[in-house]
Protein backbone atom coordinates (compact mmCIF):
# COMPACT_ATOMS: atom_id res chain seq x y z
CA UNK A 1 0.00 0.00 0.00
CA UNK A 2 1.11 3.54 -0.78
CA UNK A 3 2.28 5.40 2.32
CA UNK A 4 -0.49 7.95 2.71
CA UNK A 5 -1.96 9.04 6.01
CA UNK A 6 -4.69 11.54 6.72
CA UNK A 7 -5.39 13.34 9.97
CA UNK A 8 -7.68 13.60 11.70
CA UNK A 9 -9.70 10.57 10.57
CA UNK A 10 -12.90 11.96 12.05
CA UNK A 11 -13.85 15.48 13.03
CA UNK A 12 -16.99 17.23 14.17
CA UNK A 13 -16.94 21.01 14.06
CA UNK A 14 -19.37 23.90 14.23
CA UNK A 15 -20.48 26.15 11.42
CA UNK A 16 -18.18 29.12 10.97
CA UNK A 17 -15.06 27.59 12.48
CA UNK A 18 -11.86 27.01 10.50
CA UNK A 19 -10.76 23.43 9.92
CA UNK A 20 -7.50 22.05 8.56
CA UNK A 21 -7.07 18.53 7.26
CA UNK A 22 -3.64 17.06 6.71
CA UNK A 23 -2.37 14.60 4.14
CA UNK A 24 1.07 13.10 4.63
CA UNK A 25 2.91 10.85 2.16
CA UNK A 26 6.12 8.89 2.40
CA UNK A 27 6.36 8.09 -1.34
CA UNK A 28 8.01 11.35 -2.46
CA UNK A 29 5.41 11.70 -5.21
CA UNK A 30 5.20 15.09 -6.85
CA UNK A 31 1.44 15.29 -7.39
CA UNK A 32 -1.11 15.44 -4.60
CA UNK A 33 -4.89 15.87 -4.73
CA UNK A 34 -7.83 16.54 -2.44
CA UNK A 35 -11.20 15.04 -3.36
CA UNK A 36 -14.50 15.04 -1.54
CA UNK A 37 -16.93 12.15 -1.63
CA UNK A 38 -20.67 12.67 -1.35
CA UNK A 39 -23.51 10.20 -1.91
CA UNK A 40 -24.58 10.11 -5.55
CA UNK A 41 -21.59 12.16 -6.71
CA UNK A 42 -18.65 9.83 -6.53
CA UNK A 43 -15.48 11.81 -5.80
CA UNK A 44 -14.92 15.36 -6.96
CA UNK A 45 -11.62 17.24 -7.10
CA UNK A 46 -11.21 20.21 -4.75
CA UNK A 47 -7.58 21.28 -5.25
CA UNK A 48 -4.36 19.72 -6.37
CA UNK A 49 -0.63 20.34 -6.14
CA UNK A 50 2.03 19.76 -8.78
CA UNK A 51 4.98 20.58 -6.55
CA UNK A 52 6.04 22.43 -3.41
CA UNK A 53 4.17 25.73 -3.29
CA UNK A 54 2.48 24.91 -6.63
CA UNK A 55 -1.26 24.42 -6.34
CA UNK A 56 -4.34 24.89 -8.47
CA UNK A 57 -8.12 24.66 -8.23
CA UNK A 58 -10.31 21.73 -9.03
CA UNK A 59 -13.99 21.70 -9.85
CA UNK A 60 -15.39 22.30 -6.32
CA UNK A 61 -12.81 24.67 -4.81
CA UNK A 62 -15.10 27.39 -3.39
CA UNK A 63 -14.68 27.68 0.39
CA UNK A 64 -11.42 25.71 0.43
CA UNK A 65 -7.76 26.63 0.35
CA UNK A 66 -4.63 24.48 0.28
CA UNK A 67 -0.95 24.73 1.05
CA UNK A 68 2.09 22.63 0.35
CA UNK A 69 5.29 23.74 2.00
CA UNK A 70 6.98 20.30 1.88
CA UNK A 71 6.80 17.49 -0.64
CA UNK A 72 5.27 15.13 1.91
CA UNK A 73 2.47 17.34 3.29
CA UNK A 74 -0.63 18.77 1.63
CA UNK A 75 -3.04 20.72 3.82
CA UNK A 76 -6.68 21.45 3.09
CA UNK A 77 -8.30 24.32 4.97
CA UNK A 78 -11.96 25.14 5.28
CA UNK A 79 -11.76 28.77 6.22
CA UNK A 80 -15.26 29.01 7.65
CA UNK A 81 -16.93 25.63 7.68
CA UNK A 82 -20.51 25.28 6.43
CA UNK A 83 -22.93 22.36 6.65
CA UNK A 84 -22.56 21.80 2.89
CA UNK A 85 -18.93 20.86 3.54
CA UNK A 86 -19.96 17.84 5.60
CA UNK A 87 -18.35 15.08 3.58
CA UNK A 88 -15.62 12.49 3.43
CA UNK A 89 -12.34 13.95 2.22
CA UNK A 90 -9.74 11.88 0.42
CA UNK A 91 -6.18 12.73 -0.38
CA UNK A 92 -4.49 11.09 -3.38
CA UNK A 93 -0.95 11.05 -4.73
CA UNK A 94 0.55 10.32 -8.12
CA UNK A 95 4.03 10.03 -9.61
CA UNK A 96 3.12 11.51 -12.94
CA UNK A 97 0.89 14.10 -14.51
CA UNK A 98 -0.30 11.99 -17.42
CA UNK A 99 -3.82 10.73 -17.54
CA UNK A 100 -2.69 7.12 -17.35
CA UNK A 101 -0.69 7.59 -14.16
CA UNK A 102 -2.25 5.85 -11.20
CA UNK A 103 -3.56 7.80 -8.26
CA UNK A 104 -3.26 6.25 -4.81
CA UNK A 105 -5.75 7.21 -2.14
CA UNK A 106 -5.48 7.75 1.59
CA UNK A 107 -7.97 6.32 4.11
CA UNK A 108 -10.14 9.45 4.22
CA UNK A 109 -11.31 11.99 6.79
CA UNK A 110 -14.96 12.10 7.76
CA UNK A 111 -15.91 15.71 8.55
CA UNK A 112 -19.23 16.70 10.07
CA UNK A 113 -20.17 20.37 10.30
CA UNK A 114 -23.03 21.03 12.73
Amino acid sequence: DAGITQSPRHKVTETGTPVTLRCHQTENHRYMYWYRQDPGHGLRLIHYSYGVKDTDKGEVSDGYSVSRSKTEDFLLTLESATSSQTSVYFCAISEGNLQGAEQYFGPGTRLTVT
Partner: protein, 115 residues
Protein backbone atom coordinates in the same frame (compact mmCIF):
# COMPACT_ATOMS: atom_id res chain seq x y z
CA UNK B 1 -18.03 17.56 -21.26
CA UNK B 2 -16.31 14.54 -19.82
CA UNK B 3 -18.48 12.32 -17.66
CA UNK B 4 -18.82 8.81 -16.33
CA UNK B 5 -22.12 7.02 -15.78
CA UNK B 6 -22.65 3.95 -13.67
CA UNK B 7 -26.29 3.06 -14.30
CA UNK B 8 -26.69 0.65 -11.39
CA UNK B 9 -26.72 2.11 -7.88
CA UNK B 10 -26.99 -1.31 -6.21
CA UNK B 11 -26.42 -4.83 -7.47
CA UNK B 12 -27.00 -8.01 -5.49
CA UNK B 13 -25.48 -11.32 -6.57
CA UNK B 14 -25.16 -14.71 -4.94
CA UNK B 15 -21.76 -15.93 -3.85
CA UNK B 16 -20.21 -17.92 -6.68
CA UNK B 17 -22.25 -16.20 -9.36
CA UNK B 18 -20.75 -14.09 -12.11
CA UNK B 19 -20.70 -10.32 -11.94
CA UNK B 20 -20.79 -7.48 -14.44
CA UNK B 21 -20.78 -3.83 -13.40
CA UNK B 22 -21.56 -1.31 -16.08
CA UNK B 23 -19.66 1.88 -16.86
CA UNK B 24 -20.25 4.32 -19.72
CA UNK B 25 -18.04 7.30 -20.37
CA UNK B 26 -18.20 10.48 -22.40
CA UNK B 27 -14.81 11.67 -23.57
CA UNK B 28 -13.64 13.20 -26.84
CA UNK B 29 -10.19 11.65 -27.13
CA UNK B 30 -8.74 8.26 -26.27
CA UNK B 31 -9.85 7.65 -22.71
CA UNK B 32 -7.75 6.55 -19.79
CA UNK B 33 -10.11 4.42 -17.70
CA UNK B 34 -9.91 3.06 -14.19
CA UNK B 35 -11.90 0.89 -11.81
CA UNK B 36 -11.51 1.42 -8.08
CA UNK B 37 -13.01 -0.50 -5.16
CA UNK B 38 -13.90 0.97 -1.78
CA UNK B 39 -14.60 -1.23 1.21
CA UNK B 40 -16.67 0.29 4.03
CA UNK B 41 -14.74 2.96 5.92
CA UNK B 42 -11.72 2.58 3.66
CA UNK B 43 -10.01 4.50 0.92
CA UNK B 44 -10.11 3.57 -2.75
CA UNK B 45 -7.99 0.77 -4.15
CA UNK B 46 -7.16 0.53 -7.83
CA UNK B 47 -8.46 -2.68 -9.43
CA UNK B 48 -7.31 -2.10 -12.99
CA UNK B 49 -6.76 0.51 -15.64
CA UNK B 50 -6.84 0.87 -19.42
CA UNK B 51 -4.98 3.36 -21.54
CA UNK B 52 -4.00 1.54 -24.73
CA UNK B 53 -3.45 -1.86 -26.31
CA UNK B 54 -5.48 -4.93 -25.54
CA UNK B 55 -9.07 -4.00 -24.86
CA UNK B 56 -9.46 -6.75 -22.24
CA UNK B 57 -7.64 -5.71 -19.10
CA UNK B 58 -6.82 -7.97 -16.17
CA UNK B 59 -6.72 -6.62 -12.67
CA UNK B 60 -6.27 -7.68 -9.10
CA UNK B 61 -8.59 -9.98 -7.13
CA UNK B 62 -9.68 -11.83 -10.29
CA UNK B 63 -11.38 -8.84 -11.92
CA UNK B 64 -11.24 -7.92 -15.58
CA UNK B 65 -12.71 -5.16 -17.70
CA UNK B 66 -13.35 -4.76 -21.40
CA UNK B 67 -13.01 -1.47 -23.25
CA UNK B 68 -15.51 -1.09 -26.07
CA UNK B 69 -14.98 2.14 -27.96
CA UNK B 70 -18.08 1.71 -30.13
CA UNK B 71 -20.27 1.52 -27.02
CA UNK B 72 -18.27 3.99 -24.90
CA UNK B 73 -18.20 1.35 -22.21
CA UNK B 74 -15.72 -0.13 -19.78
CA UNK B 75 -17.59 -2.85 -17.90
CA UNK B 76 -16.07 -4.68 -14.96
CA UNK B 77 -16.48 -8.46 -14.70
CA UNK B 78 -15.68 -11.30 -12.39
CA UNK B 79 -16.54 -14.95 -13.14
CA UNK B 80 -17.23 -16.00 -9.53
CA UNK B 81 -17.97 -13.55 -6.75
CA UNK B 82 -16.73 -14.05 -3.20
CA UNK B 83 -18.39 -12.63 -0.09
CA UNK B 84 -15.32 -10.40 0.40
CA UNK B 85 -16.11 -8.62 -2.88
CA UNK B 86 -19.00 -6.79 -1.23
CA UNK B 87 -18.00 -3.13 -1.55
CA UNK B 88 -18.61 -0.04 -3.63
CA UNK B 89 -17.07 0.13 -7.08
CA UNK B 90 -16.17 3.29 -8.94
CA UNK B 91 -15.38 3.76 -12.58
CA UNK B 92 -13.28 6.81 -13.51
CA UNK B 93 -11.78 8.52 -16.54
CA UNK B 94 -8.56 10.55 -16.47
CA UNK B 95 -9.02 14.10 -17.74
CA UNK B 96 -6.22 16.63 -18.34
CA UNK B 97 -5.91 19.86 -16.38
CA UNK B 98 -3.43 22.72 -16.71
CA UNK B 99 -0.60 21.15 -14.73
CA UNK B 100 -1.80 17.63 -14.04
CA UNK B 101 -4.84 15.51 -14.59
CA UNK B 102 -7.89 14.64 -12.54
CA UNK B 103 -10.07 11.61 -12.22
CA UNK B 104 -13.72 12.03 -13.09
CA UNK B 105 -15.68 9.45 -11.16
CA UNK B 106 -19.01 7.82 -11.68
CA UNK B 107 -21.42 7.82 -8.75
CA UNK B 108 -20.55 4.25 -7.83
CA UNK B 109 -22.23 0.86 -7.70
CA UNK B 110 -22.68 -0.86 -4.36
CA UNK B 111 -22.29 -4.63 -4.60
CA UNK B 112 -24.09 -6.85 -2.12
CA UNK B 113 -23.25 -10.55 -1.99
CA UNK B 114 -25.83 -13.12 -0.86
CA UNK B 115 -24.46 -16.17 0.97
Amino acid sequence: AQSVTQPDIHITVSEGASLELRCNYSYGATPYLFWYVQSPGQGLQLLLKYFSGDTLVQGIKGFEAEFKRSQSSFNLRKPSVHWSDAAEYFCAVGAPMDSSYKLIFGSGTRLLVRP
